[in-house]
Structure formats: structure tokens, C-alpha cells
């Protein structure tokens, strides 16, 4: 019985994945801003310019490395492509209050959102942080990447430049 169920499930997954295109729209979930205001993810916008959504946490070392690496180049990226980065913290109530002083302490200029019970993380199927999404001008998620290796930010930027020019990115 269980074998049957499992095979059906596998079939289901395959069936669905075939039907699936890689691009998708963001799920519609409520998170919070750093000052506690409700923020719906449908408000993630950037006037037709590319958007980066980066899932992170104050206790996640590679996440902080990635966001720190981008922070050094963020001004240039913004001037050249108009890209905007939303840093979605999955810190829960144990470290949520630490996010604001942490972000300021680092001197980051990102738009920071708090996903304290991982509702957004779950809705977009993130397993572990860091997990980064790239969204094109039309609001489609066109690329995602998990983990961080030194130098990933430059590869991400190559893709952002393409998006800013209205080109497709091929992965």
C-alpha cells in the first residue's frame, strides 16, 4: 500500500515538474518591516527594474557573508541597473529584535523584511538559507540559487545586468 502511494507520489511530482516552467510569480504572504508594520509580499516592486530577494538570518554565516559582499558593490549595482535588494530575515522571535541593530551595525542599505514564522520562506519553498531569488521587470522569478560561495555575487550581477537590458537569462 505504502509502495503504491509512494510511486503515485513520485509520478505526481514528475507529472507536475514536466508541466512546470521555471518562471513563476511571487506568492502572496504577509511579513513585517523592521518597525513591525505589516507588509504584503505583493508590494515587492521596483518600477520594472530587477529585484533580488535574499533569504537570510543574523545567525547564518554564509548569508551574512553574501549580503556583506553585495553591500560593498550595492551602490554601483544600483546606479548601473537600478536593482533593488529585499533581505528577508527568517530570524524568529528569539533574534528578531536583533535584526534592526544588526543591519544598521553592518551599515546595509537593503530593504529588510521580517519573516518571523517562516511563512514567506515556506510559501516560496526555501529549504535552507542563504537562498537568493532574482526577479525580472515583469515580476517573474527567473533565477534562484541556494548556498553561497565567495564570488557568487559577481555571477549574480552578470544576470542582473542582462535583466536590466531586458535580455533573458539562461541557466
Amino acid at each position: 500500500m505504502k509502495t503504491i502511494l509512494f510511486s503515485l507520489f513520485a509520478l505526481f511530482v514528475v507529472n507536475c515538474s514536466i508541466a512546470q516552467t521555471n518562471e513563476f510569480k511571487l506568492p502572496n504572504v504577509d511579513v513585517k518591516t523592521m518597525d513591525g508594520k505589516k507588509f504584503n509580499t505583493s508590494e515587492i516592486k521596483n518600477d520594472g527594474k530587477p529585484i533580488i530577494i535574499s533569504f537570510w538570518a543574523t545567525w547564518c554565516k554564509p548569508c551574512v557573508m553574501e549580503l556583506s559582499a553585495i553591500a560593498e558593490k550595492y551602490q554601483d549595482w544600483q546606479t548601473e541597473t537600478g536593482v533593488k535588494l529585499y533581505a528577508v530575515s527568517i530570524d524568529d522571535s528569539k533574534s528578531m529584535n536583533r535584526v534592526s541593530p544588526f543591519v544598521n551595525g553592518k551599515g546595509w542599505d537593503y530593504i529588510v523584511l521580517l519573516d518571523a514564522n517562516s511563512d514567506f520562506k515556506r510559501a516560496i519553498n526555501v529549504i535552507n538559507v542563504p537562498h537568493t531569488f532574482l526577479i525580472d521587470g515583469a515580476g517573474n522569478v527567473v533565477y534562484q540559487h541556494t548556498t553561497y560561495a565567495e564570488g557568487d555575487e559577481d555571477l549574480l550581477y552578470e544576470k542582473i545586468k542582462k535583466l536590466a537590458k531586458g535580455e533573458k537569462i539562461n541557466e
Partner: protein, 548 residues
């Protein structure tokens, strides 16, 4: 079984339906993860013999959304549960499925869901795969935005208990008001005030032969968040009526908890102050449950969380029966081109936290502390107890030396109450001093080498340790790592062992595969103050994950 028979055709239809739908707006997503490990008996580190030789944890999530509807399921398989996870998970099935309808102001969910009221002091359902923690509700939930700045949610459900459900029924409502959005005179104010309140009640029949137990246990909480410029003030207080349980050894004292957190921050500078008091605040949908089973609420820890392994040897775990303490952290960035900032700037963070027991006195002249069937004890709200549970002082410096070379350096001084926190009666306290030097050298745009050195000095427990970890990464796909933790200071010469690990990971987009070998010490794994013990193990590991 009856349920499953109906389920199959529905399942297939659903799948075909989805395939037919793809030209429309419908979207299907999901993820899956598989963790597998082989086990070899290793008597030196007391890694037990595992009869299955190989164990596996796996799950897959699927979410389908179209228009106002979202539906999802999760399949989980534990064949059998990886060593260290609760073996009551053994088996497989679909413990999680839901349907949500969301229009502008209204959201209705039927089936499984996670939720949190405020900081979670009286209600939080969540999952933490690393712990095997999942207390999802199975029931119904309604969220409604009544007016601009005013939202409420209500839920009723039973909680997940492995592949079954707990006996208690949980009912809860939560409301939140953003005064700046609601009140005209506040809309222009520089001060933002958000208020919230919640009430939760659980029902569990009383079948106790001895005591008359409350079948309905109510709890309420009130919270406030004030922000003005660089200052943020956050507080929540929770109260629970008498709830005799296995946690508090069946005493009739009400419970309470208070959290206060204040921060001040502007660019380049942040300060955070925390205080908390927890008194008899375990809250479960089965009063006889233990371990991490069927928690309705979540009592956050306020100590700093780390990713470095030596800083996680002696982690703090929330003491739901009673604790009192606080912490402070200062974060500062020395600007570029200053003496301490150097060419690239330097980040420094100093953190201190300390937690004590509660001050407890006998409830009456004729009684002693903690007797079942009595009020248990009295406690003065503002006086901490004499017993120290945990203290952590640490300094972290993050510095970029050149375009290629950067480092993260940590020093930690720790006092850990081993007797109270892990029921280790051999010794009361572990005093530790730990240093970490984590250095990164960028060879070129894509290749980097990461070296982590660590040393932990303690006269107690297993004695001194040193470690070395080297990781080589080729962006964006490859990671190679080797590490050795050496317990050179163990009192027992035969136990001065090396704990090696080796791993190769490959990541492409949202897919990741990792193969490794490791000898793992016996320890405690904690996420946010919720802990499980991890037995020693020796074997190969395969981890696969994908999001789509």
C-alpha cells in the same frame, strides 16, 4: 486506510488537472530533501550499533496556487529515522495538507497550518527539520483585516504528533492594531505604536484518578511595539491559568512570562538590550507530554546563536519551568579610512547574556517547594534566583584586510550549568574559553579558500579541544571541505580522539547535493532554545535538496 483509498484517485485527478492547467495562471511549486546516513559501530565514541546500517529522512512539499486558492501537501518518509531524531517518526505518510482561500481582506485555511501570535509566548506552531520539530495545527484558521490597521485571526485545531495528532483541542484568537494607520491624529506622528493581544485555550479531558485537573486551560498575552526614529521598544506579557502537567510536576500555580527588548540603531551603530522572565510557562496540548512534543507555545531564548561548532558545544535551552535574565549587545562599524577601520572598515560586536533560576519559596508555612497537587511555590517577580543557568560573554570582530583577504574572529567566555541544562549530574558547571579565527582568502573571482581554526579550553566535561577546517569553493557550484576536531585535553587518554569529517557539495541553482563522511561526537543540537540530543555516529552522509 479508508482515507487513503479515497485519496489515490483524487491525487491522480489533481495531478492531471494541474498538467492541464499550466497554460493558465496556475502555478505549481515545491521542494524536496533527502538525508541518508550509513552507520558504523564505533565503541570509542560510543556510537551504537544500528541494525538497519543505513537510515533515511526525506520529505517533499508541493504547493499549487491558482487565483485566490492555494493547496499544498507534504509527504514525509523516515525509513528508519536518522539516529538522534525521534524514532516515533518511523514510517511514512502525508501528515501535512491544506487548502487556503485568500481574497483581499479575508484568508481562510482548512487543514494543516503554522502560525504564531506575537512572540509565540502562548502560541506558535512551526517546523524545524533539523530538530524533527513539527507542531503544526490541523484544523481551521481565519484571518481578517477588519479595518485599516486592524487585523484579527482565529484558529481551532489539534496538533501534529508524529503521524498522529495530540489529544488536546487548541482554540485561539489574536488581534493587532497599528495605531498610526487606524487613528487620524497618529497618522502624522513620528512615533509608531502597534498593539496586540491574544487568547488561547486548550481542552483536554480529565481522566486523572487523583487530581481534579482543569479541562480548559486559558492563557492570554498582550504586546506593544513602539518605534521612534532610531529607537525600537518591544514587549510582551503572557499569563496562563493553573495547568498541572508533567512539566511542572502537577502543581496548580498559574504561569507567566515577560519579554522586553529595546534597541537603538543608526547606520554603523546598534545597541540591543533584552530582559525576560519565565515562570511555569510550559504549555502543551497534552498535559502528560514531554521532550519537544505538542508544545502550543514557544519561549524564545535571548542568548546569541552561532554557526561555529565549538560555540554550540554548550548551548542554552529554554527553562520553561522558570528562568530570569537578560542580555546586551553592541554592534559598531569602524568606518573606512579610519585608524581602526582600515581601508575597508571593521565590524565589532560585543555581547553579554546571563540567565538565572527563579527565586522560589514555599507556598505556605506548612508546605515545601514543588509538591504535586499544591500551588508548588511562590516567586517574587523582580528577584532572580541564586542558581546561575548560563552566562555568555563574547566579542566578534569582522575585518577585511585586503581585496582578497578577510577574517572573522571570536572570543567567548562561557559558564554553563550542566546539571540544570542537560541533567548531567557528574558536574554542576562547565567553564569554557573559546577562540575562533575564520579566515577567507580569495584566490580569484571564483576560487576561494576558507580556513577555520578553533580552540576550546575547559577543565570540565571532555576537556580541551582544537579544530581545523578547510573549505575550498569554486563559485557558484563546488565546495570541498575537510575538518578535524581533536579532543586532546580529555582526561581519559583513550578518549583523546580525532573527529574527522570530509564533504563535497555541488549546488546548481536551487539544487544541492552533498556527500560526506563524518565521525560525530555525542552532543546537543539546539535551534532557538529547543534542543534534542544527538548520539555519536560514524558513517557516510548523503544529502540532496531541491526547490522548484
Amino acid at each position: 486506510m479508508r482515507f487513503k483509498n479515497i485519496f489515490i484517485p483524487v491525487f491522480i485527478l489533481f495531478s492531471i488537472y494541474i498538467q492541464a492547467q499550466t497554460n493558465n495562471e496556475g502555478q505549481l511549486h515545491g521542494n524536496f530533501q533527502v538525508d541518508m546516513q550509513t552507520y558504523k559501530e564505533d565503541s570509542l565514541i560510543s556510537a551504537p550499533k544500528i541494525p538497519e546500517k543505513m537510515l533515511l529522512n526525506a520529505y517533499a512539499n508541493l504547493t499549487y496556487s491558482k487565483g485566490n486558492f492555494t493547496a499544498g501537501i507534504r509527504y514525509e518518509a523516515y525509513m528508519n529515522t536518522l539516529s538522534g531524531y525521534d524514532s516515533r517518526y518511523n514510517g511514512n505518510g502525508i501528515p501535512y495538507r491544506f487548502l487556503t482561500y485568500k481574497a483581499d481582506e479575508l484568508e481562510v485555511t482548512a487543514g494543516s497550518f503554522y502560525d504564531q501570535f506575537g512572540n509565540g509566548l502562548i502560541l506558535r506552531a512551526y517546523e524545524e527539520k533539523g530538530l524533527g520539530y513539527d507542531n503544526a495545527f490541523d484544523g481551521v484558521r481565519v484571518k481578517y483585516q477588519i479595518y485599516k490597521g486592524v487585523s484579527v485571526k482565529g484558529l481551532v485545531g489539534k496538533q501534529r504528533f508524529f503521524f498522529d495528532k495530540g489529544p488536546g483541542i487548541v482554540r485561539g484568537v489574536d488581534g493587532e492594531i497599528n495605531t498610526n494607520e487606524l487613528l487620524k491624529f497618529m497618522s502624522e506622528s513620528k512615533t509608531q505604536i502597534i498593539l496586540g493581544g491574544s487568547f488561547v485555550s486548550k481542552y483536554q479531558a480529565d481522566k486523572d484518578p487523583l487530581y481534579k485537573l482543569p479541562e480548559n486551560v486559558g492563557a492570554w498575552a498582550a504586546r506593544m511595539n513602539i518605534t521612534r526614529g532610531a529607537i525600537n521598544f518591544n514587549t510582551e506579557y503572557a499569563y496562563k491559568i493553573n495547568d498541572p502537567s508533567a512539566d511542572n510536576l502537577y502543581i496548580y500555580k498559574p504561569g507567566e512570562a515577560l519579554l522586553i527588548s529595546t534597541s537603538f540603531s543608526k547606520k554603523g551603530f546598534g545597541v540591543l538590550l533584552n530582559a525576560k522572565r519565565v515562570d511555569n510557562m510550559a504549555f502543551r496540548s497534552n498535559r502528560n507530554a514531554g521532550l519537544i512534543d505538542l508544545n502550543i507555545n514557544y519561549l524564545p531564548i535571548l542568548t546569541k546563536s552561532y554557526t561555529y561548532s565549538f560555540l554550540n558545544f554548550y548551548p542554552y535551552a529554554t527553562q520553561s519551568n522558570g528562568e530570569m535574565g537578560g542580555g546586551a549587545e553592541v554592534m559598531y562599524k569602524f568606518k573606512k579610512s579610519t585608524l581602526l577601520g582600515g581601508k575597508y572598515g571593521t565590524n565589532i560586536s560585543i555581547n553579554f547574556s546571563r540567565l538565572n533560576s527563579l527565586d522560589k519559596t514555599a507556598p505556605s508555612d506548612t508546605s515545601v517547594i514543588g509538591i504535586s497537587g499544591t500551588l508548588g511555590y511562590q516567586s517574587d517577580f523582580f528577584t532572580p534566583g541564586d542558581e546561575l543557568y548560563f552566562q555568555d560573554f563574547n566579542i566578534e570582530i569582522n575585518k577585511k584586510f585586503s581585496k582578497r583577504f578577510s577574517g572573522n574572529f571570536i572570543y567567548q567566555n562561557l559558564i554553563y550549568n550542566s546539571d540544570a541544562l542537560r541533567k548531567d549530574h557528574k558536574q554542576t558547571y562547565v567553564f569554557g574559553n573559546t577562540g575562533i579565527a575564520d579566515m577567507l582568502y580569495k584566490i580569484n573571482d571564483k576560487n576561494a579558500i576558507h580556513i577555520e581554526l578553533g580552540a576550546l579550553f575547559t577543565k570540565q566535561d571532555m576537556g580541551n579541544w582544537i579544530m581545523l577546517q578547510a573549505e575550498y569553493s569554486i563559485a557558484p557550484k563546488w565546495f570541498f571541505s575537510l575538518s578535524d576536531q581533536y579532543n586532546y585535553g580529555n582526561e581519559d587518554k583513550d578518549l583523546q580522539l580525532h573527529y574527522y569529517t570530509a564533504a563535497i557539495a555541488y549546488a546548481k541553482g536551487a539544487n544541492r547535493i552533498q556527500i560526506g563522511y563524518g565521525r560525530q561526537r555525542q552532543g546537543i543540537m539546539c535551534v532557538g532554545g529547543v534542543c534534542r540530543s544527538v548520539p555519536a555516529s560514524n558513517g557516510f552522509i548523503l544529502a540532496l535538496s531541491s526547490s522548484f
